[in-house]
């Protein structure tokens, strides 16, 4: 079967552009036509910027015609999660409170991808708080494999756009699994880089000590290329690591012989759908057959990641989201009596239920009398979780787990039970707490739905997990399967 342009990977499209077989405008048109055809079902985008995308593509073509240089991502249409600031294009965080907010500046990653036609801004759970995009104030995105199911979240719009051909790649942000879990649900590759590898400048903060921007792509090679483009120091982000960026593409050797892979038993314990466990088990067997040394291991503090995460992230969020008060930008409630009334009404009308719940939880965890028992305690247990990983990475190059304990679930299934929703992140919460890189890729299908495999590496160990993922992907070949629900 001959792939249409919108179905191709970055590398394929780049080759076509270099050989002048297609133009950036043709590729962009192909993707925009796809958007027109399926967006009604998928609903991946909060804002589609068709004209801007075509204008960028035209500029790219003109530059190429003039013999200009071309980066590996130049002219490849993509999408940003709508929590990354784009100058002159509204950035909503899928929240009423920022519905009309138009940033006067570009996020660092937006600057870095200046030559890429931006198809639009993708839907998310409001302020990236959620696991299904059902917390978007505007609409729920559909899973391209089955529109009755959620795409995962919070970067559900980005994952669905890539899976459905509405973008060649997209950027997402991951705080507790917000890139990896939707990547798993939508059958694409998603990487949360090491904390500090990618600048957070211009990413609307949810939980600053956990947030990282990363790629959602159809292949591991594409993932490495996008990471290469967005990684690196930024003097505007104090928490961004200094030093040179390694060559990620060069790490993709197709080889896993001798690679030491640990499988922490806690991640395959109770609560994991046996069908998911089965697909992951098959992947383990394949990697072993390819020459990797696979061994069961233990991360004893795994079960504490959930409470630690749901104390630290809401605490930081309660402070980060304090600025939405109706004074400088965004929504303001009508006819407030005084300033305090304006703050309270604006925020109550502007934020959705989950955001309010987390502000309450985080405010409580930081408030006088509870700080030591909750917030400080959580920071200490975070140390224990990190030490688990430090110890494990003295013996293993990579840790392998499921990305999500379940298959994609139905819309509405978990919206009334916050704890059940929180549990869907159980496999992805620990990596951000430890600051380590983690990647999700498809390791099989159950009932026509993708199952995700998570590979975690030591800090700045992206090369190793990309190498393992790439070798596995080439052998298993799941990436070739296109989403069948649209």
């Amino acid at each position: 079967m001959v792939n249409l342009l919108y179905q191709k990977s970055i590398t394929e499209l780049h080759d076509l552009l270099v050989r002048r077989e297609v133009s950036a405008v043709e590729i962009t048109r192909s993707v925009l036509e796809r958007v027109e055809r399926v967006e009604g079902t998928v609903k991946a985008y909060v804002t589609v910027t068709a004209e801007q995308a075509l204008a960028t593509a035209e500029e790219v073509d003109a530059k190429l015609a003039a013999g200009g240089d071309m980066g590996p991502l130049t002219g490849i249409p993509m999408a940003f999660k709508d929590n990354m600031c784009t100058k002159g294009v509204r950035t909503t965080c899928s929240s009423r409170i920022l519905e009309n907010f138009v940033p006067p500046y570009d996020a660092a990653v937006v600057e870095k991808l200046a030559g890429a036609p931006m198809i639009g801004k993708t839907n998310l759970d409001e302020f990236a708080m959620g696991s299904s995009t059902e917390n978007s104030a505007f609409f729920t995105t559909s899973n391209p494999w089955n529109p009755d199911l959620v795409p995962g979240g919070s970067s559900g719009g980005s994952a669905a756009a890539v899976a459905s051909g509405e973008a060649v790649y997209a950027l997402g942000s991951d705080t507790g699994g917000s890139i990896r879990q939707p990547a798993s649900f939508c059958g694409v590759v998603g990487l949360k880089p090491t904390y500090g590898l990618v600048s957070r400048y211009g990413l609307v903060a949810f939980a600053s000590s956990l947030d990282q921007i990363g790629p959602l792509t159809r292949t591991v090679t594409d993932c490495a290329m996008v990471l290469q483009a967005i990684a690196g120091p930024d003097e505007r982000d104090s928490t961004c690591a200094p030093g040179p960026v390694p060559d990620f593409n060069a790490a993709l050797t197709g080889e896993v012989r001798g690679l030491r892979i640990g499988v922490p038993r806690e991640y395959l314990a109770q609560g994991v759908d046996p069908r998911v466990a089965g697909a992951v088990g098959a992947a383990i067997d394949l990697l072993a057959a390819m020459g990797a040394e696979v061994e069961e291991t233990s991360l004893p503090h795994t079960s504490y990641a959930l409470p630690v995460y749901y104390l630290i992230a809401p605490a930081e969020a309660s402070s980060n989201l304090a600025r939405y008060d109706g004074v400088r930008y965004g929504y303001r409630a009508a006819r407030p009596e005084d300033v305090v009334d304006m703050f309270m009404q604006t925020r109550s009308e502007g934020f959705g239920a989950e955001v309010k719940r987390r502000i309450m939880l985080g405010t409580y965890a930081l408030s006088a009398g509870y700080y030591d028992a909750y917030y400080l305690k959580a920071l200490k247990v975070r140390t224990l979780i990190k030490r688990d990983f430090d110890r494990a990475f003295t013996r293993y190059d990579v840790l392998l787990t499921p990305t999500s304990p379940t298959l994609p679930f139905k819309k509405g299934e978990k919206t009334m039970d916050p704890v059940a929703m929180y549990l869907s992140d159980i496999c992805t919460l620990a990596a951000p707490l430890a600051g380590i890189p983690a990647l999700s890729l498809t390791c099989g299908f159950v009932d026509g739905l993708p199952v995700g495999l998570q590979l975690m590496g030591p800090p700045f160990g992206e090369r190793t997990i990309l190498r393992a993922a790439h070798a596995y992907e080439q052998k298993a070949g799941h990436w070739r399967r296109q989403a069948e629900g649209v």
């Binding site: 928490t239 965004g330 309450m360 430890a434």
Partner: protein
């Protein structure tokens, strides 16, 4: 146990106005969530330092140099209410 009164206090700190329904809902849900979190008390962390940052970065500075300010119209473009070049808010007290 968090009482409805605690929830009201926390809502005031976080500047959220709760309806009676929301107050009841959040009181129940927060209690449910925090019950799960009580498991942390099992761990002895007396000797464990807190991790506020995962990267061992320190002393990240910028030089004392000025850069371009935003143009006035960009500053006020999103203002819900303004008066000339000022942001305008209802009375404070």
């Amino acid at each position: 146990m968090i009482s409805e009164k605690d929830v009201d206090y926390v809502a005031l700190l976080g500047r959220l106005k709760l309806t009676d329904e929301e107050r009841k809902l959040y009181t129940g849900q927060l209690n449910n969530i925090l019950e799960h979190f009580d498991r942390l008390k099992e761990l002895d962390t007396a000797e464990v330092p807190p991790t506020a940052h995962v990267l061992p970065l320190k002393n990240v500075f910028r030089a004392d140099r000025t850069g371009p300010d935003l143009a006035p119209e960009q500053v006020l473009a999103g203002a819900p209410d303004r008066d000339g070049r000022y942001f305008k808010v209802p009375r404070i007290v």
